[in-house]
Subunit: 441 residues, 2 copies
């Protein structure tokens, strides 16, 4: 079966030095592949691959250790974990950002993620009183207030209703909060990492409301968590009847503890905080409750001194995930620039990318299927000539909304806001290939 | 804010006994919800909820332990894991099925999964010499043989090419192998658990082939792994140029070790074995190599004594995942019956479900988006009267192919086959609600 000019081979043969030579891989091929010194690692420390191929045809076959020895058995990992070579791909925290470890946040490593699904182990976390460990057999969901038939449901009761699966992003309203007054965070994980996207399975909240019977006059629902903060928010009935879910599964398995196990409210496209975790209570009423999380927090103080309230929808936004401060460019040449775009108002219809700070734009390709209220991966080819560059992405959603610049956003909202910064992100690429978080004047 | 007739409340209030009473949850509500004795657990052992609500208005509020104490802090889980209450949801092995722990298989717990994405930690495993732990910095992918420009690529080289993301199932050709000669496995995890579905990201193999330049006469590619088995298969060039990928990411993060870290071949819709893990070599040739894994194994011995070879495509198949032997029915009543359908030839166009062993069929709803060569979740409502029943599902794909019965399959292929059993699965529900794996005459 060997091609002309090559030694015969059999499946399972090692890539030998002589075979490498026969395959036409002399020293210049290593250099062309950009391997340089790293290429030597194939043969082992101190062995020059070209010299080995050309002058040492009897060199022992290059068989790495993992091909010479049996690997791990199946019983070793009933529940799998990433390779130890990926142990730097973790959620990270910022100690000065929040008062304690239990009233805190962790950021997803967007710079190391691919596609649109966020692995559940890396989905961002936000707690107000820590992540509780709840016994699902003892947990209850109470639905009461302005309803015909109040119910106290077990988790098994909830899981017996007809189910729905959908993919949706969740973004903390405070994602990018540090950037309102200037570029402050050093990298992508901290400018945009309070963002995750998962496949969720649960029951439509409309199904549960149909079960209890909504009384006339009901317009709002208090959703309350079973954590020690008893985190609660007021949800308008219209959203509850539209696309809200009470979810129990994420990315194919039951919710993770830090994501609300055993039950979580999911309001697709709305700010993270209102997707109440560890859901224990839904109370229907005729007015919002105006609790702490929708008055003291999660409001937007405007330049005139008044605050916007109930700004739930996460408007269209995007960010380039490669290159980024954590993933610089190695050398001039051709690259695929990639990133994520999302909108709480529906599907992403277009993402434009600029390499000169917004003077010229090209449209990126969007990874199919583009789903509503879901992360969308975009990609665009770029030849980097090795000069300075200003990279930006701009999302447009199906409503026609165009992601604004930080200048446009400040012109309307001032600089007192904490939440809802969906401005275009600028990465400055230096001639050395380093990437920096900057804001243009 | 309180509704008429209820005590005032504030967000964060516990669900007290008096509130429960005010919400209209006397004893009959507990019974109606099917909670019975379990409902008492809300208040603690030995406390009757109705009695508490009606006769002990001053009972301390029912605040569970996890609402009274701070939960875990963010620093406690840089990479998250499931709740300890889910520690029974694991991959499982069958000791008698394979000779050693490193030449073995583990099965995914389909009975505990939701939606269509399989969590990477639960994706089925199949090794021929164990799962190697590969240093990605030392790993190389060699592309040679009938090509213009042979290459030895680092993982970083591979990741620099334009990328593609798609969701696809992988099913071992031997999934259901034990059932060819009768119903042998006791549950869903072992009848169908060599099946997973993931979001994959990598580079199109056509892109890599374009880089090396395919020489005239090349028709086949030898794909070889870096494991100690040097697992290899012959891949026709047409498939390589169609939708084959060399993937490095799964479900948003880098491949898991047992799934081929750092590089894996993905041939959407084709039997698991040919999706070579730990990919180290692609050699182009003019004929197949006829290695062990495509002659001694992964062929189908037919009744006439001849063997089918190169039966790569996994034809349309489906299975009901609830109820199943591991998830029996608790009591007569309304249920959502749910399952998975897939086809290596494209999209699933319809799934029919029978409750009487195939005499009558109803079409199930399909979860959107239905994607090609991907698991599709189907659902159908069923009122179980508490009698015996024979549950079946039947997948039809976009080519018009209809999933066969085991009788139809045996009529063509006999009973010597190990691989490619895509027969309709029958679950027998007994009047007690237990579910059993059976085959109909």
């Amino acid at each position: 079966m060997a091609a002309a000019g090559e030694p015969p081979d059999q499946p399972g043969d090692a890539i030998t030095a002589s075979e490498r030579k026969a395959a036409g891989l002399p020293r210049r091929e290593f250099l062309r592949s950009g391997l340089g010194a790293a290429g030597a690692a194939v043969l082992g420390p101190g062995i020059d691959p070209a010299a080995a191929a050309e002058s040492q045809p009897n060199l022992p076959p290059n068989v790495p250790e993992w091909t010479r020895n049996l690997g791990d058995g199946v019983a070793s990992r009933p529940y799998g974990v990433p390779s130890r070579f990926e142990n730097g791909v973790i959620r990270r925290t910022v100690s000065w950002l929040t008062p304690t470890d239990t009233t805190a946040v962790s950021f997803a490593p967007l710079q190391d993620l691919y596609g649109v699904v966020t692995p559940s182990g890396l989905a961002f976390e936000r707690y107000h009183a820590g992540a509780p460990t709840i016994d699902p057999a003892a947990h209850r969901l109470m639905i009461h207030g302005l309803v015909e038939r109040p119910r106290l449901l077990t988790v098994a009761d909830v899981m017996r209703f007809p189910s729905v699966t959908r993919t949706a992003f969740i973004e903390c309203a405070a994602n990018g909060s540090t950037e309102w007054r200037g570029a402050q965070m050093p990298g992508l994980q901290f400018t945009h990492g309070m963002l995750s996207c998962s496949e969720w399975t649960g029951v439509a909240l409309s199904t549960l409301l149909n079960e209890v019977g909504v009384k006339a006059g009901a317009e709002w629902i208090l959703a309350e968590g079973a954590d020690a903060a008893a985190m609660s928010r007021s949800v308008p009935l219209a959203k509850a009847l539209d696309d809200a879910l009470v979810v129990y599964a994420q990315n194919g398995e039951r919710l993770r503890p830090e994501q609300g196990y055993p039950l979580r409210l999911l309001l697709p496209g709305w700010e993270g905080n209102i997707n109440v975790k560890w859901l224990r209570r839904l109370k229907l009423g005729d007015q919002p409750w105006n609790g702490r999380e929708e008055t003291d927090r999660y409001t937007d103080l405007m330049p005139d001194g008044l605050a916007r309230q109930f700004t739930w929808v996460m408007e269209a936004k995007s960010v380039i995930t490669f290159p980024c401060p954590e993933k610089p460019l190695a050398a001039p040449g051709s690259y695929e620039v990639s990133g994520l775009a999302w909108s709480g108002n529906g599907k992403i219809s277009r993402v434009d990318v600029s390499f000169d700070g917004g003077n010229n734009w090209r449209s990126a390709s969007l990874q199919a299927p583009v789903q509503s209220k879901c992360l969308t991966r975009f990609r665009i080819d770029w030849h980097w000539p090795g000069t300075g560059a200003l990279l930006q992405s701009r999302a447009i959603d199906e409503t026609g909304y165009v992601q604004p610049t930080i200048t446009q956003l400040r012109a309307v909202r001032g600089v007192n806001s904490i939440y809802h910064n969906n401005a275009i992100q600028t990465w400055r690429v230096s001639p050395s290939g380093q990437v920096e978080n900057v804001q243009l004047a």
